[in-house]
């Protein structure tokens, strides 16, 4: 079996008496989409927080590209290629669409400590940024203010910013949140291509998206992993059906 790109080993996080994550282990292998599902309050966001570095686990480890990154900051993990998207779009709304991706490319290249030369005239950075926009189909909107574009376009811009990091793995927290049917279809097609570039850990509520994209699925409930396996295995798992999918599906 190939070495996983990203993995967690028995991650446990408590908030007071509440156990948000209990001994959660999962891994993300090259080329796959690994979906993380579970009812509200199952501990998905806490897990994403620990993987990306915003939350410090009480026990357990996070491994990324073969290294233990448990003690590393969000920034260090980002610089080594962990590209994340946020559940609620985290974009500079006053800036243009292009400026948002340029910012990502600058952060990745570490060329931010320049005080006099214009940021938008750095051709290497700009080319990388424009490629990312092209990839998600936003080239035509490059000069618009981010606050002016639609919600669905912002969700794609969110992915484009993560792309500028040339990530080794994506962590996407509900990328489809708030999208209509059309937007969901477009973004699903995009993510389907992106898995070739880097594997995707996908937190998602939309079951159609999960079942069409995911190679494997991990189900969280009350902070614990109740099932993990291929889509077919998860579909037929009795505990999952009871806890999450409901009797109908």
């Amino acid at each position: 079996m190939t070495e996983p790109v990203l993995s967690t080993h028995a991650l446990t996080k408590r908030f007071g008496a509440l156990v948000a994550n209990e001994a959660v282990s999962l891994d993300l292998r090259p080329g796959e989409v690994h979906a993380l599902i579970g009812p509200n309050g199952a501990g998905k966001s806490t897990l994403v927080g620990q993987i990306c570095g915003a939350i410090k686990p009480d026990e357990g480890r996070v491994q990324f590209l073969g290294r233990d990154v448990t003690e590393q900051s969000t920034r260090t993990r980002a610089r080594s290629g962990l590209g994340r998207t946020f559940q609620i779009s985290a974009l500079a709304m006053e800036d243009s669409v292009l400026q948002n991706v340029v910012l990502g490319a600058m952060g990745a290249a570490g060329t931010v400590w320049h005080f006099l030369r214009p940021a938008m005239k750095d051709l290497t950075i700009r080319q990388k940024a424009e490629q990312a926009l092209e990839r998600v189909g936003l080239s035509d909107l490059a000069s618009l203010r981010t606050g002016e574009i639609s919600h669905g376009q912002r969700r794609r811009l969110e992915v484009a910013v993560a792309l500028t990091l040339s990530p080794k793995a994506f962590v996407m927290d509900e990328p489809m949140a708030g999208l209509g049917a059309e937007g969901t279809r477009e973004l699903t097609a995009l993510l389907d291509e992106l898995r070739q570039e880097a594997p995707i850990l996908l937190v998602e509520h939309d079951m159609d998206v999960v079942f069409s994209l995911a190679d494997r699925i991990t189900v969280l409930n009350y902070g614990r992993v109740i099932a993990t396996g291929s889509t077919a295995e998860i579909r037929s798992d009795p505990e999952v059906r009871r806890a999450y999918l409901g009797e109908e599906s």
């Binding site: 006053e94 243009s96 910012l103 990745a108 400590w113 006099l116 940021a119 910013v161």
Partner: protein, 327 residues
């Protein structure tokens, strides 16, 4: 040319025409007023780098302004009294040379901003406002109770400091010095806003968690912004003390910090020429209304209220419309 650059050009033209007009009609007092406006504008441009791009609402910028003022006061005091500033294994003398005084003021402002920033940037929002205010007040009470340099009475410097090749006692020449410095800092500010650092700082104000997710440290960006800001305001402080040939603890007062913020809000937050417009209007009103009533600040308050309620972009916004970011 965008509408904003037309407004900027008009303000720039005023800053050249008014003192030259005053020179032609032999009104040195108007030149002094213009110098005051230019220096206060410079101090507020410093604050605008932290506030406008970085969103750092510092209510303690009087600290850097005062440090610049005292850098000038202390150096010039030792020079005029022929006493060394420091005696030990080596001797440091005072000086009356502006370039050296400026350098000390800039370094002093930057250093103070670095230390204050390290401590205060652990907080945000109202707490940040309060902690910067507290640091400003610490400097204020320290200078009041420090007798070596005049304490509450301040320090008088009898002759204005010198600049090689100029007679700084001639109002228009001193004005030229201040004006050139303001232009240099505005140029730097304009470049900074469009440079990678400015773009990142601007994003750190809007979405700090995004900035972190692309591998940058928003607090470090803000700290550097505060250091640049403190350095500029420190330079303005040295010029302000030189204009008055006097420095006192009032330069450190929280009212001073408040005035700098008023210039920015009046002129337009985050607009390049916002603080310039604000400081010009303030000095003009101070001159016109101050002659009519001692309570002229009440009128200023009413004006500020109107600008905040109806002209959200400040003076520059009223004339130039909404801010736009250009690529």
């Amino acid at each position: 040319m965008s509408r904003e650059s037309i407004v900027n050009a008009a303000l720039f033209a005023l800053l050249i025409a008014v003192p030259l007009g005053a020179l032609a009609t032999d009104e040195p007092f108007i030149i002094t007023l213009a110098t005051r406006a230019v220096i206060l504008a410079l101090a507020a441009v410093g604050l605008n780098i932290a506030l406008g791009i970085g969103g750092l609402v510092s209510l303690g910028h009087a600290a850097y302004f005062g440090i610049g003022g005292y850098a000038m006061g202390i150096l010039a005091f030792h020079a005029q009294s022929y006493t060394p500033l420091f005696e030990g294994p080596f001797v440091i003398e005072g000086t009356k040379l502006m370039p050296i005084i400026w350098l000390v003021a800039i370094c002093g402002g930057a250093l103070a901003a670095f230390v204050i920033g390290l401590l205060s940037l652990r907080t945000t929002g109202v707490y940040f406002i309060m902690i910067t205010l507290a640091f400003g007040q610490m400097f204020y009470f320290f200078t009041i109770s420090w007798p070596a340099y005049g304490g509450e009475d301040g320090l008088s410097i009898y002759v204005r400091n010198s600049f090689p090749g100029l007679n700084t006692l001639v109002p228009i020449q001193f004005y030229a010095v201040c004006f050139v410095l303001l232009c240099a800092v505005l140029w730097f500010n304009a470049r900074l806003a469009r440079a990678p650092f400015g773009l990142a700082l601007n994003a750190a104000r809007q979405v700090p968690h995004r900035v972190e997710a692309i591998g940058l440290d928003p607090v470090r960006l803000k700290l550097v912004a505060l250091v640049i800001s403190g350095a500029v305001t420190g330079l303005a402080g040295a010029l302000f003390a030189d204009l008055n040939r006097f420095v006192s603890p009032t330069m450190f007062s929280w009212q001073m910090s408040g005035e700098l913020m008023v210039f920015i809000i009046l002129g337009g937050t985050g607009r390049l020429f916002g603080p310039v417009a604000g400081a010009m209007l303030f000095v003009l009103l101070e001159y016109l209304l101050g002659g009519i009533s001692d309570y002229w600040l009440a009128f200023l308050g009413a004006l500020l209220l109107l600008v905040v309620l109806y002209g959200r972009g400040g003076l520059v916004g009223i004339f130039a419309g909404k801010a736009r970011n250009h690529d």
